[in-house]
Symmetry: none
């Protein structure tokens, strides 16, 4: 079953509103095995709507139209649809009663424009809107289906769930796609694609689909099966190969964030954590604290942006600043050890780097970051080089520190 | 000038990614007087891309294509475009050098797929990508223009601003709207709309347009003139009235963030700052540090998530935790004073609150936050109540703390 989505509204074209309706519909339809082939966003103009509907019904089995059903003058969708189906409008009594009830409950006067919301084409099946006044409409022509829905997100979602999906499932016997997503930190998509080329080919020849979903510092790999849940074991086997190839990078599956997964590990082992941050200025701690329930393991931290505070608060030896510099293995090791000791926690993660845009040298360019961890069994440190602007250097540093911590917790408990 | 936007990517159709690129382009193009007539979102398939390009070039003067330029196999856009223009690919030396430099700076090996990122159609004008490896491409056919850009938002935006807008302005004589935006913190848009109703009417009867651009914790008010720069004085006069109505809320104009503006004030007065944070876990400090050059005024901070650390590190009296509780005026005052004293700074901002989802009581519900500031002349504290989820409570707390600090610096120097 092919679907085309038509989103109507000038506010979408001028970027005043982001088209979250189309994303939600795309998500829900794909989950049910329908294939969204195109999303077309157009203005409130008659011609644009008419030709989009025409194209949509030519291309797809089902056309979902959102927007343009409100009571204000600039909403012409209903008229265009009625003309397109060579039909005429009439007042749908059941809807009118519902609209009247709506206004009575809100204790507001009902205007003539509101009565017109109950007008629908004669040929249409009315889709009840339990969340608002404008009803949805279902029309058929040459065994193609056109569904028109209001643009208000919660009204659209209500009608989709209560009226549209049950009908489509019945008509098209929609099956459920099965998809699983693995999340990796610290390795770029092009390196994975290069190293895993054979794996990727095998996967495709097994009828599975692979998608790379990169974001700064992270890559998500999604494997989809068109055969539904029955391919679950096959997909799990593919991901086990990926785990073996990237044991330190692959941190989890699905929607759980790296901060959440690292936090869960700390909780699991009853361990506590603190941070000693310089160039990230608290961003690592803020990421840990963003997880609900983080008070179970996060105790606190020191933000030591100046060398003086690294010395007085964390006990970093003064001489390091002149010999190896603040961005060095020696300094992050002493920061981590000092923080762990002072805050009496199991793990302390330290960060010292050059976030930029200034402060870089030939030997230590902008983006150079040292991360240290003092853990129950040892103190370790790693050097990273991120080439990006300040915001993204900080973001990548936080993700790298979280994954470094995750691996260090696992090492301590192996 | 009519523009059609083509957004390529299965992740958009299945709703895994929301199409924010199209919104941003729509916004920026409308501001410049260009008319976006359609946004078409399609899959990574050759046929879909080819026919969308064909339709786009028939409908509009300029077609903007985003996505499908990455190094992985599922990205076919470049090949389709090259075929459509009956052209062939060659390695663009300047781009190759740039890509090589990019990998050299990152100290990473360059793969064959990365070399291919420098391949472009012979007929195209290369649009330099200063933020990533895939270059933009500009092609012309029958006096229509096709522009292909990477789908990574910051790369797309960089090329649009540095390469595309200047060319379009030159070619189509796009007029520059004149717009100015005022930024307010700590007051809701509906309250402004209510209090400033007469002001808003006057503004519109002067031919100006007003838009409210709300985001969590902030409201931006944009006044636009279709007459260009000539209305500058009129707009400034309108904003002066707004400043008088909201002296503590209106913190600045244009794109400068609240952290930047507060940081600039600190720099201006040669003052230093630190934080002592509990429920925000470093998010306030991270916000201050996100500003380039913040090392001039940000010295460091203490993250004291547990009561024990509030006592041992900051010197908060133990008895407060049993009498008034950790989320109280007494505690944030002592946190701020203790932090200022220990870190030897001019200003120390302290935060203690209940970010949720757990920990609320009838007297102190989730979203209750106390913010304290120790400044050269006094220690002050304020209570806030934010009703929202954990992430937004933290976000609003940070913005409120920054604006509180900004007003406190001004008070100290009045």
């Amino acid at each position: 079953m092919q679907v085309e989505i038509i989103s109507i509204g000038d506010e979408l074209l001028i970027g005043q509103t982001i088209n979250t309706n189309a994303s939600w519909m795309g998500q829900e339809l794909s989950r049910r095995g329908a294939f969204v082939s195109r999303v077309v966003t157009i203005s409130d103009k008659t011609d644009a709507i008419r030709s989009a509907i025409d194209e949509g019904l030519n291309n797809a089995d089902v056309v979902l139209v959102t927007g343009g059903l409100g009571p204000t003058k600039d909403d012409v969708t209903k008229k265009v649809i009625t003309d397109y189906f060579e039909d005429e409008l009439y007042i749908h009594e059941e809807t009118l009663e519902r609209v009247k009830g709506f206004f009575a409950r809100m204790n507001r006067p009902m205007l003539e424009v509101n009565v017109q919301q109950a007008a629908v084409p004669k040929k249409c099946t009315v889709l009840k809107n339990m969340q608002g006044t404008a009803p949805g409409m279902w029309l058929e022509k040459n065994s193609k289906i056109l569904i028109s829905l209001p643009g208000v997100p919660y009204e659209m979602k209500g009608i989709m769930e209560q009226e549209v999906f049950p009908r489509l499932e019945h008509l098209f016997g929609l099956k459920q796609f099965y998809a699983k997503t693995a999340n990796l930190q610290g390795v770029g998509e092009s390196y994975i694609a290069d190293k895993m080329a054979v794996w990727e080919d095998n996967l495709r020849s097994n009828g599975l689909e692979l998608a790379y979903l990169p974001s700064p510092g992270l890559v998500r790999l999604r494997i989809t099966s068109l055969n539904g849940q029955s391919d679950e074991a096959l997909i799990d086997a593919c991901f086990r190969e990926l785990e073996e190839a990237y044991p330190e990078n692959l941190y989890g599956y699905g929607d759980a964030s790296l901060a959440e997964i690292t936090g869960n590990l700390l909780k699991q082992y009853g361990a506590t954590v603190a941070t000693a941050e310089s160039c990230t200025g608290g961003a690592l701690a803020a990421s840990l604290v963003s997880v609900p329930g983080s008070s179970a393991y996060f105790h606190g931290g020191f933000l030591t942006y100046t060398n003086e505070l690294k010395h007085t608060i964390l006990g970093v030896q003064q001489e390091h600043f002149t010999t190896v510099g603040a961005v060095s293995e020696e300094v992050v090791r002493e920061m981590a050890a000092g923080g762990k000791n002072k805050l009496n926690v199991d793990y302390c993660v330290s960060i010292s780097g050059i976030a930029g845009p200034d402060g870089g040298t030939e030997e230590k360019p902008v983006g150079t970051v040292w991360i240290g961890i003092a853990s129950p069994k040892r103190v370790v440190a790693k050097r990273f080089l991120f080439s990006d602007n300040r915001e993204r250097v900080i973001n990548r540093t936080v993700l790298s520190a979280l994954n470094f911590l995750r691996n260090e917790i696992l090492w301590n408990h192996q």
